[in-house]
């Protein structure tokens, strides 16, 4: 008979996707109208960007339930096993670290303040030894005092990356003399771990392999949140994390939901500097939601915060921007992230700096910006380091501002200098699952063609992009991936946190790289200089110079300094964007009563 089966399959695939889209449309409609109806009685008139650099709807009223929603799931809620920015932001509610980013609006939020410690770290021995002293009266949720041994144990347990694979590896990389394959579950008494010392219950000393002036940024990692050795259940600890902060676990069901209420043994007097307010009585997190659904529920009042903190989905963004009442409830927050493309110096003729300069001059800057959502998606980047990272210096070496569409004449002059007056041919790679990167590749192809540089577009699976393709120098070289589309967000707003993993040529490995072919001696030298500098202001200036060296060598197409469009419902008070996490601060937010 007729070939109905195949047709049914194919039609179903097209239809199912189309229909699900239609379903979303209907629910958005009702959501939008509901929220406009409910906003009549609001006390402060909402305005766009009202929570950037200042507090929107300030309040000290305690009580209520703050409802978070999350598309997908955490990597882990165990402070020793998480690498999500949202997680680092949120867990300040149930975990205290040695130092912490202050819960404050504006630039102050990117500043480290002591939390469990009485002051920032005290370096000695050329920044190789760092000492912290703990405050008095700090307690776990069961009332037992927190000692330096609990912090040592917390740092030690997460060194075991087989048990805790998600977190950052900074302590593994920097602590001195860690035995290979070290695990606290084989060394219960921590006899083999010599590089963390606890001479008494109030003092903890870290010893590093090499001097590192920015160690306080490591001390703010969730890994330094104390864990009582008796309560550690390894991978199961995340089901019942023992709280040291203002809230404790009531229930947590992985992938479904989480509920926290007040920790009676948290004493705000022991926490004078972090800026935590702990206004709501209860925090709830719904997990495993659909991303579009989260946006719709924020608008209809069914949720208070999208915990992801990266902004609304592309499809909601247009709708929100087109509606002034909705747009007034948004904050277009600067992220510590740049969407850029590497000009791979392994691939001829891009090994020649003049050829790289030609590309940087020729590409269409507005086209790159459009690919990431236009003005709302971020500003045209003139260098690699985003403006909210301390040390960022404003410079525009290639006149991007004067020629936002590209400068073909200047590019042709550079091409002539590098001996390719008629242009050349190379490949551009992007991550197949990312439509914005596809749009970027198309835009680069169009604009570079105007000066005779022919780009062939290659898509690779996101999951293996750095492991097998663009991040594997042998593969990238053999397949002539001259332009590699990529993006990078800082682990924390600091030159080291942002730049070191993407521009230092000495971190290049046989595969799995995040430096995709930048080899500039001046950059490497600058990094060494910055890591040795103890004075924070001077250090920031050096990082700014490193950024400049990258641009002088035309090692990257800078692209876009990313922004996210955060939605701020009327239900929340005391809202502001924390520059340390570049999203709403989850430790200071309250609920309208």
């Amino acid at each position: 008979m007729k070939n109905t089966r195949l047709m049914a399959v194919a039609a179903a695939a097209v239809l199912a996707l189309g229909l699900s889209a239609c379903g979303g449309s209907a629910s958005t409609g009702t959501g939008g109208s509901g929220s406009t109806g409910g906003s009549g009685g609001s006390s402060a008139a909402p305005a766009a960007d009202a929570a950037i650099g200042k507090i929107y709807n300030p309040s000290t009223t305690k009580g209520g339930t703050l409802r978070f929603g999350m598309a997908g799931d955490w990597d882990s809620v165990d402070p020793g096993d998480t690498y999500y920015g949202l997680s680092w932001n949120f867990l300040r509610n149930y975990a205290r670290t040695l130092v912490v980013f202050k819960a404050a609006p504006g630039a102050e939020g990117a500043k480290l303040v002591p939390d469990l410690a009485t002051s920032l770290g005290k370096p000695s021995d050329g920044n190789k030894t760092w000492t912290y002293t703990l405050r008095d009266g700090i307690k776990f949720e069961d009332g037992t005092p927190i000692t330096s041994k609990d912090i040592k144990y917390a740092v030690a347990r997460q060194l075991d990356k087989d048990t805790f694979p998600n977190g950052p590896t900074y302590f593994n990389d920097f602590l001195a003399d860690i035995p290979a394959g070290y695990s606290v579950y084989k060394d219960k008494n921590l006899d083999d771990l010599k590089s963390i010392e606890t001479p008494d219950d109030k003092t903890i000393i870290f010893k590093l392999k090499t001097g590192f002036s920015g160690f306080d940024y490591f001390a703010q990692l969730p890994a330094t949140a104390p864990v009582p050795v008796a309560k550690d259940t390894g991978t199961k600890y995340k089901e019942k994390v023992v709280s040291s902060g203002p809230y404790k676990f009531v229930s947590y069901s992985q992938g479904k939901n989480m509920e926290l209420d007040r920790n009676p043994n948290y004493d705000p007097k022991t926490d004078p500097e972090s800026g935590r307010l702990a206004l709501p009585d209860k925090l709830t997190v719904e997990l495993g939601l659909n991303a579009a659904d989260v946006d719709n529920r924020l608008q209809s009042g069914g949720l208070d915060v999208d915990i992801a903190g990266t902004g609304v989905q592309a499809e909601s963004q247009g709708k929100i921007l087109a509606d002034p009442t909705l747009k007034a409830k948004t904050d277009n927050a600067q992220a510590a992230r740049t969407w850029f493309s590497v000009l791979n110096s392994d691939v001829a003729p891009l090994d020649n700096v003049d050829c790289r300069k030609a590309v940087v001059l020729a590409y269409d800057k507005t086209g790159y910006q459009r690919a990431y959502g236009g003005n709302t998606g971020g500003a045209i980047a003139t260098s690699l380091m985003p403006p909210n990272v301390p040390g960022h210096a404003d410079f525009d070496l290639y006149n991007f501002k004067a020629k936002p569409q590209g400068d073909p004449e200047a590019a042709k002059a550079e091409l002539a200098k590098c001996g390719q007056p008629n242009g050349f041919e190379t490949n551009v790679s992007y991550r197949a699952e990312r439509p914005k990167e596809k749009a970027t590749a198309e835009s680069l192809q169009q604009s570079l063609a105007k000066v005779g540089i022919k780009l062939n577009i290659k898509a690779y699976p996101t999951a293996d992009y750095t492991k097998l393709y663009a991040g594997k120098p042998d593969y990238a070289k053999a397949n002539k991936l001259g332009v590699i589309i990529y993006g990078w967000g800082a682990d924390w707003p600091d030159g080291f946190g942002f730049l070191s993993q993407i521009v230092d040529s000495r971190v290049i490995r046989p595969s799995g790289n995040t430096n995709l072919g930048i080899k500039v001696p001046a950059v490497d030298a600058g990094i060494d200089q910055a890591m040795a500098e103890t004075d924070a202001t001077k250090r920031d200036t050096i990082w700014g110079n490193v950024d400049k060296s990258v641009m002088e060598a035309a090692a990257v197409i800078p692209g876009v300094w990313a922004k996210g469009l955060l939605f701020r419902p009327d239900t929340i008070t005391n809202v502001f964007v924390n520059d340390g996490f570049t999203m709403y601060d989850y430790a200071a937010m309250g609920v309208k009563q």
Binding site: R5, V14, G374, E442
Partner: protein, 330 residues
């Protein structure tokens, strides 16, 4: 299940009895003539047929048409796009005399020329895949039907296996791991070849089953017996006696297979494993449009209508063709 198309064996060659009576207005008419007369009366099928011819001509001459009525398919027109909302500033998705079907959001590419270039990919893949299916299916079906026994059992089970295959999942996996170059092909041509192969190679059992059923009934006929008793070998009987009588059902089911292949290619492109950017495909455009339906629903119309019209035209024509060739199978 199968209603055998009982065609008059060797109809074109047998001398019609009516001629002997000498009445001039009664003529012997071949199968093709009879079918054509019936098809001419079927206005719906004819419309479908004309649309198909139109689409094929448009696809072939796409570069010429675009040079007159459109803009190059990859050319950006970002000055016509709102920098904040990312959609065309003009109403109706930017439809104008300059851009007949409007503009793509973000980059402002001309949808008219992208639809036209997309038709090349859709039709090319659909036709080539159908040819492969028909070729394999016919051979397997005739062999299974004619020889019967163990051969039939083996081929029939093979068909069952192919029918049970989760084709879409397999296609997603296979297209996802296509290397840079293989079999002397690279880039887009390699991808097209692989997609054609997947769709064609896994679709032959449908045609195969029809052909097998027809062959089973045909091989019992007298003219086959006659051929055999005159000493014809199996290969001769397959080629000269069976195949000509199978042309009609093969033609019909090939016509009906093409639209399903167009849909399948669109589904693959929609899921992002079709032909690579920046080359336009209907399914890929539909996938892009799905992200914009809230603020620029017009973007969805051109690719959606293109798929709809093409599939409908092929189906109408195919149904009409079946009615014309074999009225009893309705």
């Amino acid at each position: 299940m199968s209603s055998p198309v009982e065609l008059e064996p060797g109809g074109a060659m047998a001398p019609p009895e009516a001629v002997l009576e000498g009445a001039k207005h009664i003529e012997g008419r071949s199968l093709g003539q009879i079918a054509w007369t019936r098809l001419k009366r079927d206005k719906v099928a004819l419309t479908g047929g004309f649309i198909i011819i139109f689409l094929v001509i448009v696809a072939i001459f796409a570069p010429f048409i675009v040079s007159v009525l459109g803009h190059p398919p990859d050319e950006f027109h970002q000055e016509l796009i709102d920098p904040d909302l990312q959609v065309p500033t003009a109403p109706l998705g930017g439809v104008s005399w300059d851009f007949l079907f409007g503009l793509e959001p973000v980059n402002g590419r001309d949808l008219f020329s992208r639809i036209l270039y997309g038709s090349q990919i859709s039709l090319l893949i659909a036709f080539l895949a159908t040819i492969i299916s028909v070729f394999i299916g016919t051979i397997m079906g005739v062999v299974a039907g004619y020889f019967g026994g163990a051969t039939d059992a083996f081929i029939s089970r093979l068909m069952d296996i192919f029918l049970a295959f989760p084709l879409l999942v397999f296609a997603l996996a296979l297209v996802g791991v296509i290397p840079e170059s293989a079999f002397g092909l690279s880039g887009d041509s390699l991808r097209i070849a692989v997609i054609v192969f997947i769709i064609g190679f896994f679709n032959w059992p449908y045609i195969g089953r029809i052909v097998r059923g027809q062959t089973l009934s045909l091989r019992e006929r007298e003219f086959i017996d006659a051929s055999r008793s005159l000493g014809a070998r199996a290969s001769y009987i397959l080629r000269k006696d069976l195949l000509p009588n199978l042309i009609a059902p093969i033609l019909v089911y090939a016509t009906l297979l093409i639209p399903s292949n167009i849909l399948f290619e669109a589904a693959l492109s929609y899921l992002g494993v079709g032909v690579q950017a920046p080359r336009a495909t209907w399914g890929g455009m539909l996938a892009d449009a799905a992200k914009w339906y809230q603020i620029d629903p017009w973007f969805m119309l051109p690719p959606g209508l293109a798929i709809f019209v093409t599939v409908l035209a092929f189906n109408l024509f195919g149904d009409g063709l079946r009615d014309a060739l074999d009225p009893r199978s309705r």
